[in-house]
């Protein structure tokens, strides 16, 4: 009884913080309206999507530090196709998804070949940011007006960004917790050697989850193109850190093998509330607070694990 309570400590911490922030925000009239949250979701959908896609990767004991760079790289490619080559919207957006998936495939092949995920994706993080910068430089690239209309489309009154997060949550939750692939992710993260002898197709699984992250990063890149009428190669420099923070705060064990997609969802909700509540604080203070929060989660998580043993 106490053991399971201790294990749940980081989750409870996140939940308490979530409730506290919500009470703080509801002091004002704006957050009582649904439209307020739809607008905020449009700002913070990218880290949410990436956190969901990263959860299976972290469950295998891996990490992907390149998600922010891949997102920006995909957005720059789409931007160039639209603005410089005059591609129609549909094919250009599709190309963004393909570029993201290919970048993820590179990560997956590196990790499957035995390169440490931290090292492999640190390298590709610089690689894809560098590619984006060499494609469009440090200046903003203005896009044709038409791209923004799709972003304003609200099926059933709900913005596309919210749909994307909900659908991704559904897919990741189903795959991780209700398929054989999900069970193998946990097995691989718990003990890679045992998983191998048990016949888990580790390499194919790794290539798959990293490619999926790349695809979602491509989707985020497409979202950025639709949202803003200009793309920048030096944008979104803390995207991967925010996304990883959501996963960790959600109680997914960073060394793999344990965690729940709904935990990540809670982490996303908490971090998003934190960012909304701190919108008028300087970005450096915001990063500092996020760092302190993660440290707190890491320490309580570690303490809980020791006690539980």
């Amino acid at each position: 009884m106490t053991r399971s309570l201790l294990r749940a400590l980081p989750t409870l911490l996140s939940l308490a913080l979530f409730v506290g922030l919500l009470i703080f925000l509801l002091q004002q009239p704006g957050p009582w309206r649904l439209a307020y949250w739809f607008s905020q979701a449009n700002l913070y959908f990218a880290p949410a999507l990436l956190a969901l896609a990263l959860t299976p990767v972290v469950l295998t004991g891996g990490i992907d530090l390149s998600v922010g760079s891949v997102t920006v790289f995909a957005s720059v490619v789409v931007g160039l196709l639209l603005a410089k080559l005059g591609w129609p919207l549909g094919p250009a957006l599709l190309a963004g998804l393909v570029v993201g998936a290919l970048a993820g495939l590179v990560n997956g092949l590196l990790v499957a070949a035995g390169v440490l995920p931290l090292v492999a994706t640190l390298a590709t993080r610089e690689l894809f940011r560098g590619l984006a910068l060499s494609l469009c430089g440090e200046t903003a690239l203005a896009l044709p007006e038409a791209a923004g209309d799709l972003w304003r489309w609200r099926p059933f009154g709900v913005p596309l960004s919210v749909w994307a997060v909900l659908l991704t949550l559904g897919v990741v939750w189903f795959v991780v917790h209700h398929t054989w692939m999900g069970r193998m992710l946990f097995a691989l993260g718990d003990n890679a050697t045992a998983a191998k002898y048990a016949g888990v197709p580790s390499k194919r699984l790794l290539v798959g989850v990293y490619t999926a992250v790349g695809l979602v990063a491509g989707l985020c890149g497409v979202g950025l193109v639709l949202q803003y009428p200009a793309v920048r190669a030096d944008a979104e420099k803390t995207l991967e850190m925010t996304a990883i923070a959501c996963v960790v705060l959600g109680g997914v064990r960073i060394t793999g093998g344990a965690g729940h997609v709904l935990g990540t969802a809670l982490g996303i909700a908490t971090i998003t509330l934190l960012l909304v509540a701190l919108a008028n604080v300087s970005p450096s203070v915001r990063d500092l607070l996020l760092g302190v929060l993660l440290l707190g989660v890491a320490l309580t998580g570690e303490a809980a694990r020791r006690r539980a043993r």
Binding site: A140, Y228, P283
Partner: protein
């Protein structure tokens, strides 16, 4: 489910619509809330704008909401604006844009929510706002800056441009005009490509020092932001190049007082930022009340004979600040 919801929402809208119509009509009611946002907070120039905005809001008896990012970043502005717009916190928005393009969707959301949008100091794409309050024409400022420096430099040598970033709206327009006018009027003057300092004082000093060290033919630096000019002056002072390298550009008396008094800088250019903030709030409220003329001249509180036309409101001609008048201004 969704159908029922939308029908209910439609009924709610139908019930509320006449009320909204009432409050939106030009009655001049004292309940308009004015949001005023600078490019960044905490620098004398925008503090002066804020002072003028507060003066105007006080005269009109309206509450003023003031907030802005701590660094000049359009993404940070979008986050704050989203809170204001989605939270229904303001009726009139006055904004100095860090980027003409990126803010467009947010400003369109604001106008869709019934908010009057007036940009000041730095414009957005014209389609995204109701008015731009221009402090002085781009030509007026660029010509005065260049002519003053060219005179000091004896119309020859290299002139460096220290700017915030190449795509900053005002700065890019000024730089373009400085280059064009130099080519036409001062053939012996070489304009170097822009150097960026991101409105960061320390970075500005470092970049100016590098320019002085790397370019033996350098005879002048023109700073295009209120931070760039004192940074360049500081570098010239540190290197002991007073009188050899001339510094000018756009800055504020408070930032420049020291350097003008010890003759590191002979003159710099500006308009009155207090008047700019003051005029911006008046234009926003007049627009909201339906009293704004499409073109012609305008009286806004204590400011008279303001030119209006082409979606822009013009504060006036730029002012040259020197040792003689720099003490008369407290911003």
């Amino acid at each position: 489910m969704s159908l029922r919801l939308s029908r209910r929402r439609f009924l709610a809208l139908a019930a509320v619509a006449p009320l909204v119509g009432c409050s939106g009509t030009p009655t001049g009611s004292g309940k308009l809330r004015v949001g005023f946002m600078p490019k960044l907070t905490g620098i004398p120039y925008f503090n002066a704008c804020k002072k003028g905005a507060e003066e105007a809001a006080g005269e009109l008896g309206l509450p003023l909401v003031y907030n802005g990012p701590t660094k000049a970043d359009s993404g940070e502005q979008i986050k704050l604006l989203t809170g204001w717009i989605a939270g229904g916190e303001i009726d009139v928005l006055c904004l100095a844009c860090n980027d003409p393009d990126t803010l467009v969707p947010t400003l369109k959301d604001a106008r869709a929510a019934g908010i009057t949008v007036v940009t000041y100091d730095a414009d957005s794409q014209p389609a995204a706002r109701d008015w731009f309050v221009n402090m002085a024409t781009y030509d007026g400022v660029a010509n005065l800056m260049l002519d003053e420096l060219a005179k000091q430099m004896g119309q020859e040598g290299e002139l460096a441009i220290l700017t915030s970033s190449v795509q900053a709206p005002n700065q890019s327009e000024w730089a373009k005009r400085i280059k064009a006018r130099a080519k036409e009027r001062y053939p012996k003057l070489t304009i170097l490509p822009e150097t960026e300092h991101g409105e960061d004082r320390d970075l500005g000093i470092r970049k100016a020092n590098e320019l002085i060290a790397d370019r033996p033919m350098l005879k002048g630096i023109v700073g295009l932001t209120s931070v760039a000019v004192p940074a360049a002056a500081e570098a010239v002072r540190q290197k002991g190049k007073k009188g050899q390298i001339h510094v000018g550009g756009v800055s504020t008396p408070r930032d420049m007082r020291d350097y003008v008094k010890d003759d590191t800088v002979a003159s710099f250019v500006l308009w009155n930022p207090i008047d700019l903030g003051y005029l911006t709030v008046h234009v926003g409220v007049l627009t909201r009340q339906g009293k704004m003329p499409k073109d012609g001249t305008l009286t806004a509180g204590r400011l008279k004979g303001i030119n209006v036309g082409g979606g822009e409101v013009l504060l006036g001609e730029p002012v040259l600040f020197t040792k003689e008048n720099v003490d008369k201004f407290d911003f």
